[in-house]
């Protein structure tokens, strides 16, 4: 009887002690193809335990009531749930751009999701093709700290927990991305408004409780 009881409790104890950060599960995240699918497979991951996502539908619906919902895409530098016109999924994001006002057809577009960003360089002109370029290496710099962002997909990069922590600690700081492309090295400046909107998204979805 004692043996049965102890063998029944052991996995529960094991689960709490095996709680890991998503940083250690980036390969598994790629393989699972979505954070929601990974959280269903490995609920002991800290982000899955504490943060809100599609794996916590009731909490997510409550969170959606506190942010605007927009079809296709929301305004720049504003946190909102945008509705994917194809799938009708409501995805939290902050979209921002960094471009030279003298040449607005060239610049960078960054979309922040809770644990990933989409970053691309765009270049176009009248009579030219609009060309996107996806950096082959991205390093984030904030408050003297730098973080390498692993590549998840074409134009998609993982946001490590250290960077999320630094942004939550000081959302009005200057965040830059050093982006290396086949055309050269570029620095992408993120506006403080966009960064504050990203911090707001992280807080609403309880990512501040993960750290």
């Amino acid at each position: 009887m004692l043996f049965l009881l102890s063998s029944g409790i052991a996995p529960v104890i094991g689960q709490t002690t095996r709680s890991t950060s998503l940083d250690q599960k980036v390969v598994e995240l790629k393989e699972a193809r979505s954070l929601a699918a990974l959280c269903a497979q490995e609920p002991q991951i800290k982000e899955c335990q504490f943060a809100i996502g599609e794996w916590k539908p009731v909490e997510l619906e409550r969170a959606k009531m506190e942010a605007p919902a927009c079809f296709d895409q929301c305004m720049l530098d504003v946190f909102g749930f945008y509705k994917d016109p194809d799938t009708s999924r409501e995805i939290p994001a902050v979209r921002t751009k960094d471009f030279d006002g003298a040449a607005p057809s060239r610049g960078f577009e960054v979309t922040f999701y809770p644990v990933a960003i989409r970053l691309l360089r765009y270049e176009g002109c009248a009579g030219c093709a609009l060309i996107y370029q996806y950096p082959t290496k991205v390093t984030a710099r904030i408050n003297g700290q730098s973080f390498g962002l692993p590549i998840l997909a074409r134009g998609g990069y993982y946001v490590p927990s250290g960077l999320r922590r630094a942004i939550l600690a000081s959302p009005s700081s200057q965040l830059t991305f050093d982006a290396r492309t086949t055309e050269g090295q570029f620095t992408v400046n993120i506006s403080s408004k966009a960064l504050q909107a990203y911090a707001e998204m992280l807080r609403l979805l309880n990512y501040d409780k993960v750290l």
Binding site: L29, G53, Y113, P114, A116, I131
Partner: protein
């Protein structure tokens, strides 16, 4: 002439991403001995509808420029680089990868080719000059589209039939182009609509090198979406 060139360029770009359903790379039923369905070449004018899945690229192409084909014929994009592999995002047919090549006599005839993952396009124009001496010389441009293509493949060669300058890429063709000896110029032969002659044309060594990227061996699989990975 410029308009013609632009439309040719646009058609070639479309050829780079057009994909008949039954001719996907990796489809074992497609070989040189079986008929290849070409949706562009319906000789009998029956009304047909062919549904084709949009293509997607795997993440291995993240180093390439991703050309967004969002300018229609009124605003042609005529600045696409030659002899360089490019990813392309066609709003109608989906994502593809292709390399453009041109071979020409300055001020004269030109052969233009687009080597797409799923389709090849070959066209151009011949330039004829008449008159001169005491009369005013007159130059005439005659556009052409290839309909038969010869590609060297090791100790043998492939004879590929298409029409309207378009050829569907099969697994066998992709393999021949991928394995083409790199580091030097390549050669193709083609004949044009209504003629029996087989013209020899050179392909630049950079285009030959880009074939290795365009026709790289991979199984079609939709890459994960960034928004799904991040939320």
């Amino acid at each position: 002439m410029k308009t013609f060139l632009r439309s040719l360029c646009a058609a070639a770009v479309l050829g780079g991403s057009a994909l008949p359903a039954s001719a996907q790379i990796g489809n074992p039923s497609v070989s040189s001995t079986s008929a290849v369905q070409n949706v562009f070449c319906e000789k009998n004018l029956r009304a047909t509808v062919t549904r084709v899945s949009k293509t997607v690229l795997p993440s291995g192409y993240s180093d390439l420029k991703d050309v967004q084909l969002n300018s229609d014929f009124r605003y042609p994009s005529n600045d696409l680089p030659f002899s360089q592999a490019m990813a392309m995002n066609d709003p109608v047919t989906g994502q593809s990868v292709a390399v453009l090549d041109q071979n020409f006599i300055p001020g004269g005839s030109k052969v233009f080719s687009s080597w797409g993952r799923h389709g090849i396009t070959i066209g151009g124009y011949w330039f004829y000059r008449t008159g001169g001496g005491f009369s005013t010389p007159i130059g005439t441009f005659i556009p052409f589209e290839a309909d038969i293509l010869w590609i060297s493949d090791g100790s043998s060669f492939l004879v590929i039939k298409g029409c309207n300058g378009r050829f569907t890429v099969t697994k066998e063709i992709a393999e021949a182009l991928r394995n083409y000896p790199a580091g030097k110029n390549g050669y193709i032969r083609f004949s044009t609509e209504g003629t029996g002659s087989a013209i020899l044309s050179e392909i630049g060594k950079d285009t030959v090198a880009a074939w290795k990227k365009v026709y790289a061996n991979w199984t079609p699989e939709a890459p994960p979406k960034v928004e799904s990975l991040g939320f």
